[in-house]
Structures are given as structure tokens and as C-alpha cells.
Point group: none
Chain length 229, copies 4
DNA sequence: TATGAATGAGGCTTCATTCAT
DNA sequence: AATGAATGAAGCCTCATTCAT
């Protein structure tokens, strides 16, 4: 009986070690991506950084791309998690909480968010990992139902502009996407107050699409003129 | 004299041919990037599409990256041009015209805008073309003075929220950046009404940061609560 | 005493289990070679198909090649066995029985015979298994004495052409070798009557080298000419 | 005019040099295959032997397999050529000339014939070169019409056994195939008189299937017994 | 001046074998 | 005794760039 227990334990132990090493690979890859740039990271360098042999990497991942996709999935999961919490808060009455949570989670580690954006660009059309990429998209879409009903309610309450609900959250997505890129753009990064800037953008994101703000672009001149008075 | 003239003409002729060929290379590269995807385009394929020899490409560009950077510069120039026009209009009284022009020019050919975004990602940290990339950034910043003064005036007139002027145009940049990516994201592109959506986002972009819309995120709960009441 | 008996039994039991597993490995390897093709079979896949761990395979065979060679030896043994029976029959009066038995045994499972041919091609010059390969050759030669005396007698009786005895059985070997390959050649396999064809070839094999059939190639023209008249 | 001529000449010259190098690659590959064995030849080693860079090989061949297939095609072409001559002679009255030509051409350089056999085994099921392999098969089948009519005539004249014509030439193919393998089989190659042996086999090949030689295997015993008397 | 053949560094991946548990 | 994770040598192929003609 003892031997049985110890055997089962041993197996569990092995699995844990195995998973730890997997995490080690991911961490190594992530660190290298962030420090060296995507194209300068090779499987060899990942293995070296993780302190294992090159072949070992392939015990955990079928291809190099699977490592990249794994990083993306892990990240997307954390975003989804935080968004879900935000949606819950929104439903509880804090109308802007979802958007706020979304922005804050994406801007919490902008360098990571940006990495994931760039990884996705590389992987689109990669035949291997096409399935996992679909998973990623599914994950993103999985929040749509909650978002839709939440937003519909806000529209009904007159908080948000009355347009198709997805206009609102896709605008948020777009702004967050761009905000992250902004953090690292060589064109702008000489500005040092990016934290305040990000708060401003978050504010914009939280309130954008609120009723009374959207106007048909064609009428803007008039509106502005009248607003001036 | 005649021979001199014809010689000068011949030289001018040659230069024209040379420049035409340069444009041909760029057009070929652009077409291939858009149709085949960035990584599947080789110098060979560009030369073939342009109808010239591979070696000739290197008479016009020192490295492959220089072709890419050239595409970016050409594009940025057109954006800058249209933005400048928008700024002029804004100064003439149509407060949102600059933002509107900016969004419309970037969303006019989103596939091209996106290509340029992706090219930039590849080229960041490329030691060759570092100079040209700096040119690109300079070009982007070139309108900042006009933007700053324009925005400052709008702030003074009470149209825009009173924050550092660059907050406003950087938000625009970010939203446009994200909007373009949105057009092609596999997660969302199953939506067919993207034109309407883009109009909505443009509207958001044009009015975002308008006075009375921005609130410190920390106060959102309160605001919402009051709004709820 | 009881314990001794049971201990001895246990050892015998273990040996039996061990041998059974060895057979399982060979069967698994054979099945995979036939279904997937030689190069697509890995030690891993063999172990998986045999339902054991990869490491265990190496308790039975020192190298992967030893599995292959073992398949060859097993097969050659069965051929040799059947040939010996044929030789016995021949000695008992049925002059063509040996050749017939040989062809029929090789053509009984042509896919297996072909596999063994191909395995041999891979293993020639493999430093490991050089010894076992020599065994294989020895096994093939093991019937030579009987074959020689049998054929010598047939020559003396005037049944077979008077050439060195091995000419006869090596011709048989060659024809059988080629016949097997013929079964699977992409150049010819669109023919559906291969069974009849194989019977024909067997017939040829059985009678080839019979007296009066062999003519010096140089005289063929004359022969034909006279035959024509 | 002179410049035109020299330009055209230069191009022709270049093409010649290019083709010469292609032949150099093939020769190098062939030499290495024969000396080192198929699996020990790498693209690197071929390039080294040909005295060129590794990348240059890929200017001439899309994949490594294309080199192999090219060797096969070149060889098959020479066989086809000689067979066609033999068929012509056969039609001219020398009934066995076709078979003789076929055997002699395949046995002229048995080591090369065998290499081609082995190459085919490696390449079957290679997705690249599937087309070229089909070419090879087509080439082989291309002689069938001539063979069929030739053999039909020999059957009508009573020279050959009255079975479907392809039985005859497929038997030849099989015997030749096996004879080549026989030359190098470790089981038999300790015999030194292989030249005489090959003549014997050629003789067998030339006359096999001649009328009066084929008998249903089942009746062989009786026949032999009667032949004994 | 235009060309395109030649180059070779460098990337990804496979798999037989080992060995600690 | 059985396992399977770890290893790393070795192979194929790509493509930006050079340079002789």
C-alpha cells in the first residue's frame, strides 16, 4: 500500500516538475522576446535561457509557434478574467467599470500587451497553431454576450449612445490597442508623463460613446460653432 | 550646341527613367506586401514583379529594409499632408476638422495603414534605416506645433478639456491606430457593417476629449451612481 | 521446497512474459513498417503500438536496427524452412519442387518480402547489426550444399543445363526478388491480373535453366532466323 | 551589330556554364551515392564535392530529392534508348534482341542500376518529385506499345508462349531487377564469376517464356519424370 | 549599367539513445 | 524492471547581399 502511495506520488511529482519546466520555457521565451525583440529569439536561445536542451523544448511544444501562441493565450486569459470582473461590477451599478477594468488590465503591462499584439501579427496565417489562434479569438468573442447585454442595458438607461452594442466595445478595444502602441512609439515616447496620459486615455475610453457625445461627423462644424457661442 | 543640348536631355531622360523604375520597385513591393503578406515577399519577388533584375534593385536601395522604409515615408507624407489641411480648416473655425481629416485619411485605405504599422514593427531596431525611421518620426512630430497651438486655442475656447495639448492628439493617434487594426482582426472581422462602425469611431475620435466628457476615472462610480438616480 | 518451486516458476513466468513482450515489439514494428513505410516509423511509435515504454524497447534490443534485423531473420527463417522442405521433395523425385516452394513462399506475402528487401538495403553497412546481418547471409547460404547436390543430380539426369549449380538457384533468387518488386512497382501496378502473372513467373522460375532452353546469347540471331524459316 | 552578337553569345555562354554546373552537381551526387551510400550523402557534401556553395545547389534543384530523381530520369532515359534499339532489331527479325538489349543495358553498370532502384524506394511517397516520378513511370510505360506488338508477333509466330504479352516483358523486368541486386548481395557476392553468371541469366531472360517451356507448375513433377526417361 | 548566379550563415525540427527515478 | 523526459548532433532549406560579366 505504501508503495502504491509513493508510486502515485512520484507520478504527481513528475508531472509537477514537467509543468514547472514548461513554465520555465515560457518565461524564458517571454523574457527574450521583451529584451531582444521577436525576430532575434531562436529556439536555441530559449532553450539556453531556460537552461535545458534544445530538444527538450519540443517535448513541450510541437513547434516554435506554439510557444508564442501559448504566451498569447495565457495573456488573453488574464485579460478576460479581469474584464469579467469588470462586467460584473458594471452590472452591479458602476456603469463604466467594465471599460475601466479592460483598459487598466491592458495598460497594466503595456510591454506585454504590445508583445502579444505583435505575436498575433506574426502568427496570423501560420498553418500550425491555426487552431490555437481560433481558440484565442473564441476567447475574445466569449465575452461578447455579457458585453452586449450590459451595454444594451446602459443604452436603455440612456447612459450610452443608441448604436449597435458592439460599436461601444469595439471602440474600446481599438483605443486600448492604440494606447498600448503609443506607449512605445518612437514618435512620441520622448514624453515622460505617459502615466497621466494613459489615465486620460482611460478616461476617454470609459466615457466614449456616452449619450450626447456622438454626432455625425458632417455636422461637427456647425455644432462646434454653436458650442462656441 | 546641339550635341550639348541632346546630351543634357539624355541625362535628364535617364534620370526620369531611373526615377520611374524606382517607383516601379516601390509599387511592386507594396502590391506584394498587400497580397502575399510581409514575410512572404523576397527581394527576388519584388524584382520579378517590377520586371527588372534583382541586382538592379540594389542600385536604388542599399538594403531591402530601405524599400520598406520608403513605403512608410511615402505613406506618412500623405497622412501629414491631409492632416495639415485639416489643421488649417480647424484654425478657420471648424473645430473638429483636424481630427476628422486625420481619421479619414488613415481609414481611407486601412489595409495600407495597417501594412505601414506592421512594417514599422519589423523595422524598429533595424540598424540600417535607423536614420530614415528617425525621419519618419520627425515627420510625425512636424505638425505638433500647429496641433499644439490649435488645441490650446480650443481649450481656451472651452471646447476641449484642459489637459496638456498632446493628450488630445495622441489619443486620436491611438484610436486611429486601433481602429485600423480592428478592421482586420480575426476576432471581430465577421461583422459586416465595418463602414458604419468606422464612422462611429471617427465620431468618437472627433469629439473625444471635448469638455464635460472627461472625468477622472476615480469618480466614475459616483458619477454613475448619480446618473443612475 | 514450495517456495523454491514457486520461485523457479516465477522466474520461468517472467521469462515467458519477457519473450511475449519481445514478440509484441516485433509485431508492432512490422505492422508499422507495412502500414506507414520504413522512414516514418520511430522507436517511439513502435513502443506506443506495443503498449510499452520507449525505454523498455531497449531492454530487448540494443539499437533500433536490431529490431529491423530481427524481422529479417524471422522472415528468412521461414523461407529457409519452406525451401528445405522443397529440396526434400525434389530429392524425392519432383524435380521442380524446390524452385516452386521457394517462389511460392516468397510470393505468399509479397509485401512482407519486399519490406525485408528494403530493410536489408537500409542496414547494409550499419556497423551495429553487422554480425546479425552475417547470420542472415549464413542462413541463406545454409541450403547451398543441399541445393548444389540436388541440382548437380538434375544436371546429371539431363534435366538442367550443365552450368555451375549455383547459376540455377541464383537465377531463381533473382527472379523472385524482382517478382516481388514487380508486385508494387508504380510503373506496372495498374495491371489487375497480378495473381496470374505471378503464376506465370513462378512457372518461368521453375523451368528456367532446363536443358535445351539456354542458348548462348550470341547465337540467338541465328537460332531465330532458323526458327523463322 | 557586333555588340548584339556578343551579347547573344554571352547569354549562350552563361547558359552553357550553368548547365555544366548542373551536371557537376549530378556527377558529384552520383559519385557520393555510389561511394558512401545513400543516407550518408547530404546536400552539404554534394556541394562540397562539386566545389560550390550549398545555396548554389538550390539554384538548380528545388529540393534534395530533385537531384535524386534527376539521376533516375537520366538513367531511365538511357535504358529506354537502348531498349528501343533492341525492339527495332527484334522487329527486324532477331527475336531475342530486345530482351538481350534490355538485360545488357541494365547489367552494363549494375552498381548504377541498383542505385536507381534504391533511390526509387526512397522517393516513392515523397510529395515533392511526385510529378517527376510519374514522368519516370510514364517513360517506362511508353515502351509498352512497341513491346506489346513485338511480343504479339512473336507469339503469333509461335516463338513465345501464348499468354498476355505483358507477362513476357514484366518477367524480364523482374529478372533484370533481381539480377542487379544479386550482383551486390552480401549473401552471394563471394562468388567471383559473376560475369559468366550474368551471361547465364541474360540467356535465361532472353529465352524465358519461349514456347514449350512454360508449364502449369502443378504438372511439373510428371513432366520431369517423363523427361527423365 | 543591368544582371542573376553564387554564397553561407542561421533557423527549425527530428529522433535514436541515455539514464535517473 | 520499466519508464519517458532530456539530449544534441545533424539535416534541409531560405534569402539578403555581393560581384563578375
Amino acid at each position: 500500500m505504501n508503495s502504491k502511495t509513493s508510486s502515485a506520488e512520484r507520478i504527481r511529482e513528475k508531472k509537477k516538475v514537467f509543468l514547472l519546466r514548461e513554465q520555465k520555457i515560457i518565461d524564458a521565451a517571454l523574457a527574450l522576446f521583451l529584451s531582444d525583440g521577436i525576430d532575434r529569439v531562436t529556439v536555441s536561445s530559449i532553450a539556453a535561457k531556460a537552461g535545458i536542451g534544445k530538444g527538450t523544448v519540443y517535448k513541450h511544444f510541437l513547434t516554435k509557434n506554439e510557444i508564442l501562441v501559448r504566451i498569447m493565450l495565457d495573456y488573453e486569459e488574464s485579460i478576460t478574467q479581469r474584464l469579467a470582473e469588470g462586467i460584473a461590477k458594471s452590472e452591479a451599478g458602476e456603469s463604466g467599470a467594465a471599460a475601466k477594468a479592460y483598459f487598466e488590465s491592458r495598460l497594466a503591462r503595456p510591454e506585454l500587451d504590445r508583445l502579444v499584439q505583435h505575436l498575433e501579427i506574426r502568427l496570423i496565417d501560420a498553418p500550425d497553431v491555426a487552431d490555437q489562434l481560433e481558440q484565442l479569438h473564441t476567447m475574445r468573442r466569449s465575452n461578447e454576450d455579457s458585453l452586449n447585454s450590459m451595454i444594451t442595458r446602459l443604452i436603455d438607461r440612456g447612459v450610452l449612445e443608441d448604436v449597435p452594442p458592439h460599436y461601444h466595445y469595439l471602440s474600446c478595444w481599438a483605443l486600448a490597442q492604440g494606447a498600448v502602441e503609443l506607449c512605445f512609439s518612437r514618435s512620441w515616447n520622448y514624453r515622460l508623463d505617459s502615466e497621466e496620459l494613459m489615465k486620460f486615455i482611460t478616461g476617454v475610453g470609459v466615457t466614449m460613446g456616452n449619450r450626447g457625445q456622438y454626432r455625425d461627423p458632417k455636422t461637427i462644424a456647425d455644432h462646434t460653432a454653436s458650442g462656441k457661442k
